[in-house]
């Protein structure tokens, strides 16, 4: 398998705070990788650095061999890296269809073609019944679905999902897990930031653990939950139990 995303020595400082320190990891094509860690570990900042919303102080991000550090977010998206946001950012005044069409215009400027592509993506995430609903009237999970559809409509090769399952109930998490699985079957490479351990175990083949901006571990899910350093990083924030649970 070829490497889809190669992150090497990524650094970002905000004033005195070293948000991301020398982080490196590799994502193989069609692999699903989870980025985990306690709050403030630098997961979302890493996403911002990879997708051009922040500029890295140093380091490199290669997407299918192309350097993306220094590119603007729209250029990164054009290269085939699409992302969602931790707090969904729908275009509230637009309908679901119009939201997703806006994504589809990246590859095809014709309205009719874009509408077709958009409907496909909306169907895929299961929002077809809501096509004409203004995005601001959607429920939280539907807004997340919309973000995914909008990202998919840009026809990405790598999809970065930032906590798409936060705040969902167990049944909704199952649906979301199934959706991520379906995306992976379609051949997409997925990087996912997530807190819900159950979901991570279900979707990720490889896990990268960040703490205080540094990578403290990486490996298969089974190794990660047994890693003493990971358990120490999570201790006290309530996730040690999650690790222990999987252990048992």
């Amino acid at each position: 398998m070829t490497d889809a995303l190669v992150v090497t020595g990524l650094n970002k400082r905000f004033g005195g705070l070293r948000a991301v320190q020398d982080v490196s990891f590799t994502v193989k094509q069609n692999e699903t990788v989870a980025l985990i860690g306690p709050n403030g570990a630098g997961k979302t900042t890493s996403f911002h650095l990879i997708t051009g919303f922040h500029r890295a102080d140093s380091g490199s991000v290669l997407a299918f061999g192309q350097e993306v550090v220094g590119l603007k977010p729209h250029d990164v998206c054009a290269l085939g890296l699409a992302r969602t946001f931790q707090v969904a950012k729908p275009f509230g005044a637009m309908t679901v269809l119009a939201n997703v069409m806006t994504g589809a215009f990246l590859r095809d400027r014709h309205v009719i073609a874009a509408r077709e592509k958009a409907r496909e993506a909306i169907d895929f995430v299961g929002l077809a019944a809501r096509e004409q609903t203004p995005a601001k009237d959607l429920t939280t999970i539907d807004q997340r679905r919309l973000e995914m559809a909008r990202a998919l409509a840009t026809q990405p090769r790598i999809l970065l999902l930032d906590e798409v399952m936060a705040g969902l109930n167990p049944a909704e998490i199952d649906q979301a897990v199934a959706l991520v699985g379906k995306l992976s079957q379609r051949g997409l490479t997925i990087v996912i930031v997530e807190h819900v351990m159950r979901a991570i175990m279900a979707v990720a083949r490889h896990i990268v653990v960040l703490d205080h901006g540094q990578k403290i571990a990486e490996g298969a899910p089974k190794e990660i939950v047994e890693n003493p350093e990971v358990i120490r990083a999570y201790l006290g924030s309530g996730y040690a139990g999650a690790g222990g649970g999987a252990h048992a």
Binding site: T51, F53, K72, P73, H74, D75, C77, A78, A82, R83, F85, K89, P90, F91, G92, A93, M94, A98, M101, T102, G103, F105, L106, R109, H110, V111, A114, R150, A151, A153, T154
Partner: protein, 336 residues
């Protein structure tokens, strides 16, 4: 969608055709100079509002400095006419291009800011431009301004004997503005503009080159605004910095769009009809001597719209229409 949608669009075409006929015939039916003057003002400010709305309404880049381009258009064509005897028809287009070019550095500075500080920056750049025209006397007649020589009937120099002719010119401008808006609204560009207005980060994330789109729409908006500037000074035969760069024009451009319905095709037109009619009525009741009354009333209308109907009159019409549809017998409605 079926039958309802068909009926709606048939109604729309019929309404549009009727409106077009009325507008074309209006100067033949009304010969009262005062009334024609008001119609011309309504068409002119509708057009300025339409130009503003492209950037301010769809992309929510809330400029209060659009008079900069109005003034540049007015001065470009007047300087060309008086100093070089070039027809204002050519000067109008030239003014549009001057405004387009000027929008590049202004945009470069102002688009670094978001929200209210963008608005302040646009005010400041327009005021700075007015100061330049005030300061440099040899360049453009300084603060006194100049009258534009009256050549009698000279259509090639954009001078006409009857107000009706001016009416048709500005009606043409408004139609141009509406057609451009209609085309943009329905294309990928319209979607991109609204997306930028809703959430610029989210737009960038799905590949929208927000700075470039904003730059382009600002150029189009500036170009159209400049055409209005040329028309206006040709209509009143006079130019000075206080007229050509009047802050009130920036205000009215934004106001008519917000009151009528921000980011809608017809919003600026509807808003202008309401505001200008109100203003004309006030003037005929109170006489024109009472300074401040027009803007006092405008600001009250603006506050009322913002507090109770942020979608403007178009939003109100849509709600009423929707309610009307809901009240119709169930069999006439289509199922979702």
């Amino acid at each position: 969608m079926g039958k309802d949608a068909d009926n709606t669009s048939k109604w729309q075409v019929a309404a549009l055709a009727t409106l077009g006929m009325i507008l074309l015939l209006l100067p033949q039916l009304v010969s009262n100079g005062f009334a024609l003057d008001i119609f011309i003002r309504i068409l002119l400010f509708s057009f300025i509002g339409v130009a503003w709305n492209l950037m301010g309404g769809y992309a929510k880049q809330l400029s209060l400095g659009h008079v900069a381009y109005f003034g540049l258009g007015a001065y470009t064509s007047t300087i060309m006419q008086i100093d070089f005897n070039i027809s204002p028809w050519i000067g109008m287009i030239a003014g549009g291009f001057v405004a387009m070019l000027a929008s590049l550095p202004v945009g470069w500075l102002c688009f670094r800011l978001r929200g209210p500080y963008f608005t302040i920056a646009t005010i400041a750049t327009a005021q700075a431009l007015m100061l330049i025209f005030l300061k440099f006397r040899d360049f453009a007649w300084g603060a006194e301004g100049t009258t534009i020589p009256n050549l009698g009937s000279s259509p090639l120099m954009m001078q006409f004997e009857t107000k009706a002719s001016y009416y048709y010119v500005v009606l043409g401008l408004l139609v141009l503005g509406l057609v451009i808006t209609w085309r943009i609204e329905r294309s990928w560009m319209g979607y991109y503009l609204v997306a930028i207005g809703e959430d610029e980060d989210a737009a960038e994330a799905i590949g929208v080159n927000a700075p470039r789109i904003k730059r382009h729409i600002y150029m189009i908006s500036a170009f159209l605004t400049a055409l209005a500037g040329t028309f206006y000074v040709q209509y009143i035969y006079f130019i000075d910095p206080a007229t050509a760069f009047s802050f009130n024009i920036s205000i009215e451009a934004a106001l008519v769009s917000i009151v009528g319905g921000i980011g809608t095709l017809w919003g600026p037109v509807v808003g202008t009809v309401l505001l200008e009619t109100t203003s004309a009525l006030l003037q005929s009741w109170l006489g024109s001597s009472t300074g401040g009354i027009q803007l006092t009333v405008y600001s009250l209308i603006l506050m009322a719209i913002i507090l109770w109907r942020p979608t403007g009159l178009m939003g109100l019409f849509n709600d009423l229409w929707q309610r009307h549809l809901d009240r119709r017998p169930a069999r006439m409605r289509t199922l979702p």
